[in-house]
């Protein structure tokens, strides 16, 4: 075990400790928070965020950021919902392909803008955030897809369970996390993403196809937003052109930053990100239980993001210190 791994481990352990302390603190006020039932509530709150966070993690590790995920989620869900509505004869699982494909295409557009024109991702995705949202209104003619058009089988994915009473949607989200883990740890391109974020200047010299890796990363972010999109339709039973996915980016970025993915690229783990998502889920589930008004949620998220940034900063400074020590 080496120094940085130790820090990272500490970092993940740190989030875990925070989660446990938080849960215990809430538990002293509301003992029912410490039951399996509330674990189920927390897990049901987080699958979409978890899926989005996996994509965002890859983007951030590659030293970019994707603000358009909420709009990509909305657009993909809308396209899929319209397919369900106007072509109910199509077998419903095809919706997954449509939604993921649509998302991947939108993500690819982000990636192309970032790579072809060498634009900062933050500005590009701020633009496409609006662009995709506007397109969602246009394709849907500003009409919501109602509950009756969403296939029952899809809706029941967030209720029925293959095993242990845990709904499908949770399996899917953790399945995505597992695949992401295998992808980043055990494939060459996964490691190249880390190399790219760790040293973008050197990456092409070491045979990292920067353009293609960047495109891939943004496409994955889009595809996962698309997956979150169809699951949204199933989870909530409707697709709305204005609500669906709006604000998703803030929750996801908060989770990723809290999970210890470094905004300077190159650093991030699937486990940390999962824990970041769970911490947010715990907060979201605990507030109503404690009777704290929902209006404070945004402020709490903001504060948690800033605290995570400060921690990130401290860890980074330790890294720099150890570097100077080693040189001495």
């Amino acid at each position: 075990m080496t120094a940085l791994r130790n820090i990272l481990l500490r970092r993940e352990a740190g989030i875990l400790v925070m989660i446990i302390l938080f849960c215990l603190a809430v538990g002293t006020q509301k003992p029912q928070f410490l039951t399996l039932d509330s674990l189920r509530i927390i897990l049901l709150l987080t699958p979409l965020i978890l899926i989005g966070a996996m994509g965002q993690m890859l983007v951030v590790v590659a030293r970019h950021v994707d603000l358009s995920i909420g709009s990509m989620l909305g657009f993909s869900a809308m396209v899929t919902g319209m397919m369900f509505k106007f072509h109910p004869e199509i077998w419903w699982p095809v919706g997954f392909l449509v939604s993921i494909g649509t998302g991947a295409l939108l993500g690819l557009i982000n990636g192309l803008l970032v790579t072809l024109f060498r634009l900062p991702a933050i500005i590009v995705t701020l633009g496409t955030l609006n662009l995709y949202r506007g397109l969602t209104y246009i394709v849907s003619n500003a009409k919501q897809i109602d509950r009756q058009y969403v296939p029952t089988a899809l809706k029941s994915m967030s209720q029925t369970s293959p095993i242990f009473g845990i709904p499908w949607i949770i399996f899917i989200s953790f399945g995505v996390a597992l695949l992401t883990y295998i992808f980043v740890m055990h494939t060459r391109v996964g490691r190249q993403i880390f190399a790219l974020g760790s040293n973008p200047v050197a990456a092409p010299l070491r045979g990292v196809a920067v353009t293609r890796v960047t495109l891939l990363v943004f496409s994955i972010s889009g595809a996962l937003s698309g997956l979150a999109g169809i699951l949204y339709a199933g989870r909530w039973g409707f697709v709305n052109p204005s609500n669906t996915g709006s604000g998703f980016e803030f929750q996801v970025i908060a989770a990723v930053v809290i999970g210890g993915v470094s905004i300077n690229g190159g650093v991030g783990t699937v486990l940390g990100t999962i824990l970041g998502v769970l911490l947010l889920g715990c907060v979201a589930a605990a507030l109503p239980l404690l009777g704290i008004p929902g209006t404070t949620q945004s402020a709490i998220y903001g504060a948690v993001i800033l605290i995570a940034l400060l921690i990130d900063r401290t860890v980074r400074q330790q890294g720099i210190k150890s570097l100077t020590r080693a040189r001495a």
Partner: protein
């Protein structure tokens, strides 16, 4: 067999960067099983040539054949596949990836979704590190490794790549003599296996110890290729600089006056320790040493860019604390930084704005900029230093390196400094302009200014300085008067102490 066919045969290689030709019609054959040195001054084109072979740059003209087959080395990946590996001058690393991963990254085997063989990778990495005699835990990230260790990883990477041609661009600069010896041993073994090595270095003794043949570059031209035994050191230097060394010796002797800058016990933990010296009016004091010895850090500390944690600085007899450059400037200090692009110029701003950057109070006493004053000052500087430009309103990035450097010098002369710190002032500058700089530095000293000159080029130090300080591993190791200074005395003080004891043993 085809042993007589060269491994690499380059013909008519030329390279332009933005209308400036940095390499002109270079023909060069590299044989199998030779260690071939490329020599030349900074900017002579040897690194550019190496980078063309490694696919980092593409030649503007010319052809390269490998084993008699014409090849187009599009990019570093293609070079890697062809069996060509470049060890960069500055080690390239991915600080967040493990040492083992850094070793294999960029090897062309397997597709995108090929598995990463962690355990095999770690095993191989350990074996390589043992071979090089470096004790590094290969599972730890690169971040935190010393420059020397990073360089050893870089070398290990080239070994692991199983390349036919390994290009080493100044690999020994950060290494201890012991590490250099290990490296040379490995290089010789690779040669005996029939591989080809290109060795780029400034150190003639290393070239002599290791290489079979040398090629000398000057100003983008290949001047000569010969067996090392056929050339004396004097021959090589003459070929490299195109004239005898002596001409550079700066003749104008200034009156040496009072102490202008005095530094005592300056320390920045982990970077430099207990640095004490003084520079007098009219004196040029050199500061030599290996790359990474902490010379630039001392200059940055004095100037307040990255202040020291302890120690005192005295300017013109008064003790001062300098926490940011603005204070240093007010005290009459000036600092021409080493990295012109990063710390010197404002690339997209006009030459005028660049020249007037350090004198806000002169050009804008009320806060509003007086354009006429600024213009007049800039024009005068342009004339005095004969800066070649189309218009003072032109972005400075459009000028050549030498003229950019003159503009930076002009910026500092306008502050009328009593102490000038020059950090590698002639790096990347044409030889003609370099001579002008030497004259200017001499004149500045003659006008009563104290000058601290940091340089890695020993001839430059020897030619200009009244006294030469040498740093090694963050400490001052020598203070050599002009008449005792030779390349040998400087180098022996620059070599790290731990290593020297090793050599002695």
């Amino acid at each position: 067999m085809t042993d007589t066919t060269p491994l690499i045969s380059a013909r008519g290689i030329s390279k332009n960067f933005a209308s400036i030709e940095v390499l002109r019609d270079v023909d060069l054959d590299l044989q199998r099983g030779e260690i071939h040195a490329l020599l030349g001054e900074n900017g002579a084109g040897k690194s550019t040539f190496a980078k063309i072979l490694a696919g980092v740059h593409r030649p503007s003209r010319g052809t390269i054949t490998l084993n008699g087959q014409p090849v187009d080395i599009l990019n570093p990946i293609v070079a890697q596949k062809l069996g060509i590996t470049l060890i960069h001058q500055e080690p390239i690393s991915f600080p967040d990836l493990s040492v083992a991963e850094n070793l294999v990254l960029g090897r062309g085997d397997g597709g995108w979704f090929a598995r990463v063989p962690w355990s095999e990778m770690t095993r191989n990495a350990r074996a390589l590190m043992d071979l090089l005699g470096v004790r590094i835990d290969v599972t730890r990230p690169m971040r935190g490794l010393s420059i020397a260790d990073q360089q050893m990883v870089e070398i290990a990477r080239a070994l692991a790549s199983d390349s036919r041609l390994i290009i080493m661009d100044e690999p020994t600069a950060p290494l201890t003599p012991k590490e250099v010896e290990t490296l040379f041993g490995i290089a010789r073994r690779l040669r005996d296996e029939g591989r080809t090595i290109i060795f780029i270095s400034h150190r003639l003794e290393e070239v002599r110890a290791l290489c079979d043949r040398v090629t000398i570059f000057r100003d983008g031209n290949k001047i000569a290729t010969d067996t090392i035994g056929n050339l004396t050191d004097a021959d090589i230097i003459r070929l490299m600089i195109g004239r005898p060394l002596k001409e550079f010796r700066h003749k104008a002797r200034a009156e040496i006056g009072d102490v202008a800058l005095k530094v005592e016990g300056l320390t920045l933990p982990g970077v430099f320790h207990d640095i004490s010296f003084e520079v007098r009016k009219g004196e040029i004091v050199g500061l030599g040493g290996l790359v990474g010895a902490g010379r630039t850090d001392v200059a940055r500390a004095i100037f307040g860019v990255a202040p020291a944690t302890s120690g005192t600085v005295t300017v013109a007899g008064k003790g001062v604390t300098i926490t940011e450059p603005a204070q240093a400037i007010d005290l009459g200090l000036a600092f021409v930084p080493e990295d012109r692009a990063a710390a010197g110029i404002f690339r997209t701003l006009s030459v005028e704005e660049n020249i007037s950057a350090a004198i806000p109070k002169q050009i804008a006493p009320t806060g509003f900029i007086r354009r006429t004053v600024e213009k007049a000052l800039a024009q005068e500087s342009v004339r005095k230093l004969s800066i070649k430009l189309a218009s003072p309103r032109q972005p400075i990035g459009e000028l050549s390196g030498g003229n950019q450097q003159k503009a930076i010098l002009a910026r500092w002369l306008l502050t009328n400094p009593s102490v000038l710190i020059l950090d590698e002032p002639t790096r990347g500058i044409d030889i003609g302009v370099k001579a002008e700089f030497y004259d200017m530095i001499g004149d500045l000293a003659a006008s009563g200014r104290a000058i601290l000159l940091i340089s890695s080029e020993l001839p430059e130090l020897l030619a200009l300085c009244d006294r030469i300080l040498v740093m090694s591993e963050g400490r001052l190791t020598a203070d050599i008067p002009r008449d005792q200074a030779t390349q040998e005395t400087i180098m022996s003080a620059a070599v790290p102490r731990t290593a020297r004891s090793g050599v002695a043993a």
